[in-house]
């Protein structure tokens, strides 16, 4: 069972992020770490490969300046190898462009049975890349997986819904997006950390992907960020005086937020 996991490297959310006023995008020139939402995919992939009795987990990533720190975390957790696409021409690439690059990178991995992604990244939050990637790869896809089983050439997925989950089957190969928090990502072991730097890391430039510069980056962007504003101040909470119907009102409030 060979599994590819899309792994985004993002600025550490614990540090205060900064937007570039000119491009209105997040500055990514500092240290990048593995997006926590991708750790669930890495963990899920490692477990699936283990359960299948073998196979390799490969990470694919697109990042500026050949940054590898986040990828190394995934390799230290147990992934076997990685493909990284990095090229100055990729600056400004939007979600669809990212999906094109990732699709090209996935294409470099031989014998991939399954592609896992997060449902969305923790910095961009478009949540569109998994579907775009599936379309570009010509593969079926399942989103919001909370549990995945593999048997008889199919994935059996518990697909999270507002009410609970649906059971969905899909033939392999396919793309599955994994909901954050559904598995507990392992800590990288010290042996894993020490082995990570000697694991194969295939570093590609744009030219190696078969894509042209005008398909990606600022030039290829089908969308533009036209403005950035500060988040609105938090509004005062709603106070419910209990006249005997307080509990119902709170339940109604939570239902409205789809929390219950």
């Amino acid at each position: 069972m060979n599994i590819v996991v899309c792994a985004k490297q993002i600025p550490d959310p614990a540090e205060p992020g900064e937007l570039d006023p000119e491009t209105k995008t997040l500055k990514r020139d500092g240290k990048l770490i593995l997006d926590e939402s991708d750790m669930y995919g890495v963990e899920m992939a490692l477990q699936l490969a283990d359960n299948a009795g073998g196979g390799e987990v490969t990470l694919v990533s697109m990042a500026p300046d050949n940054k590898v720190d986040g990828i190394r975390t995934g390799l230290a957790m147990g992934a076997a190898k990685a493909v990284l696409v990095s090229d100055p021409a990729l600056a400004g690439t939007d979600a669809l462009g990212t999906a094109k690059v990732l699709a090209a990178a996935v294409g470099k991995v031989e014998g991939a049975d399954l592609v896992l992604t997060a449902t969305e990244s923790s910095d961009g939050y478009t949540g569109t890349v998994p579907e775009q990637l599936a379309e570009l790869l010509g593969l079926p896809s399942v989103t919001f997986a909370k549990h995945i089983e593999i048997a008889d050439g199919k994935v059996k997925v518990q697909r999270q819904t507002d009410a609970g989950y649906d059971e969905v089957e899909c033939p392999l190969p396919c793309v599955v997006s994994v909901t954050a928090g559904v598995v507990e990502p392992r800590y990288p072991s010290f042996k894993g950390i020490m082995a990570a730097k000697s694991k194969p890391l295939d570093q590609l430039a744009l030219a190696d992907t078969g894509l042209e510069a005008d398909q990606v980056g600022w030039a290829g962007g089908g969308q533009e960020i036209v403005g950035v504003e500060d988040a609105p101040e938090r509004e005062a909470g709603e106070i419910i005086e209990d006249d005997g119907t307080g509990a119902e009102k709170i339940v109604a409030y939570l239902e409205n937020l789809k929390l219950v």
Partner: protein, 399 residues
């Protein structure tokens, strides 16, 4: 003129003032960050309760093993084979959680596994080290006795030959992990030859018992025990074959002390950061108490000691990785870093006022723990005299 010269006046990172992070390589940083995350997730949420209840969760051994923390600086036999510097960084992060967690790892790796790894037979290594590295088997180390502390050569525990077997009698005291251990490395004197032998003693051997020591006010999130050896009969295969002098146990202590000189700075850092955060948010006379000159002096002294001690630990770690570290260098680090850590903890406790004495904040816990760390693994006095001997050529404590 380079970039750092252009930094605005009066700016510095309060959490890494001397930018020691830049002296580590990527692998060391990842390892450090992993242990820090483990401590944040698994130690800090519950450690105040463990401290209050006087327990250490035995289950954690397997998690520490899975991470690779147990015997991490040893090569082979399921051990991670990390550098001495990496081992030190791990000790620092663990002790920033609690000295009890670091003590557990020190005892398992440096005191129980190290002697088997260094002085054991191939069979002994194969049998014991892999499950100990995995945390499936917990070890302890028996050297100190009720009447034999700084002068361990005065030990009374005996190992007498009886046919092909050995029979051990005596009492060991202040043994970390004793009551939860599956195996004890026990040092005993052979009366006929005065040789000092190390034995690997499964704790279910008849005649062996390990009553827990209660009523401690320090290292409460750590198990401390007495080991009682009452005609404990062992085959010769239980004896560590490669050493028969005090060099055996002393070399183990040297390994453990090396971890302590790092760990103490973790406890100190936790206290300093708690004091810094507290001073910034505690309002008195309408201003944060960090505004007061007396408080700033305390915070700066703490910050300077934490940075200096961490630099010292890193320097000694690099020396150890180059094979240049002597036991007197380790005495330097253990003596000074633990002393300074205790100073920082006491100062931080003062900054926190009444909050400095509750388990709601980490400070009093670290402070009480460091009182043990100050005297175990060589008292401050003995390490001072070791250094005194090193620079004068005159021993003040041994004829």
């Amino acid at each position: 003129m380079n970039a750092s010269d252009e930094r605005p006046f009066g700016v510095g990172d309060p959490r890494d003032f001397l930018e020691i992070d830049a002296l580590l390589d990527d692998e060391e940083r990842m390892l450090r960050d992993t242990v820090r995350r483990f401590v944040d997730d698994r130690v800090l949420p519950d450690v105040a309760d463990w401290f209050e209840e006087g327990t250490f969760p035995r289950d954690m051994a397997k998690d520490l093993g899975a991470l690779g923390l147990l015997g991490m600086h040893l090569e082979g036999y399921g051990c991670a084979g990390a550098s001495a510097t990496a081992y030190g960084l791990a000790c620092l992060e663990l002790e920033a959680g609690d000295s009890g967690a670091r003590s557990f790892v020190s005892v398992q790796g440096s005191l129980a596994m190290f002697p088997i790894w260094r002085f054991g037979s191939e069979e002994q290594k194969q049998r014991w080290l892999p499950p100990m590295a995995a945390g499936e088997v917990i070890g302890c180390f028996g050297l100190t006795e009720p009447d034999s502390g700084s002068d361990p050569a005065s030990m009374r525990t005996t190992a007498r030959r009886d046919g092909g077997d050995w029979v051990l009698n005596g009492t060991k005291m202040w043994i970390t992990n004793g009551s939860i251990a599956d195996v004890a490395v026990v040092w005993a004197r052979e009366p006929e030859t005065s040789a000092i032998h190390g034995f690997i003693v499964p704790t279910d051997t008849p005649g062996f018992s390990a009553p827990e020591i209660h009523r401690k006010l320090s290292l409460r999130a750590s198990i401390t025990s007495e080991l009682v050896l009452d005609d404990v009969r062992l085959p010769d295969e239980a004896r560590l074959p490669e050493v028969a002098t005090m060099r055996g146990p002393l070399s183990c202590l040297n390994e453990a002390r090396y971890g302590i000189l790092w760990g103490a700075m973790g406890a100190a850092r936790a206290c300093y950061e708690a004091a810094l955060d507290y001073a910034g948010s505690r309002i008195q006379f309408d201003v944060p108490i960090a505004s007061f000159q007396l408080t700033q002096r305390k915070l700066v002294d703490m910050m300077v000691k934490v940075n200096k001690g961490t630099l010292l630990a890193l320097h000694l770690g690099r020396m150890k990785d180059r094979g240049q570290l002597s036991s007197t260098h380790v005495s330097f680090g253990k003596m000074d870093n633990v002393r300074e850590a205790l100073w920082v903890a006491r100062e931080a406790r003062g900054v926190l006022g009444a909050n400095g004495i509750t388990l709601e904040y980490p400070v009093i816990r670290h402070m009480n723990n460091l009182e043990s760390v100050y005297t175990y693994e060589g008292t401050n006095e003995i390490h001072t005299l070791v250094l005194g001997q090193a620079i004068t050529g005159i021993s003040a404590f041994r004829a």
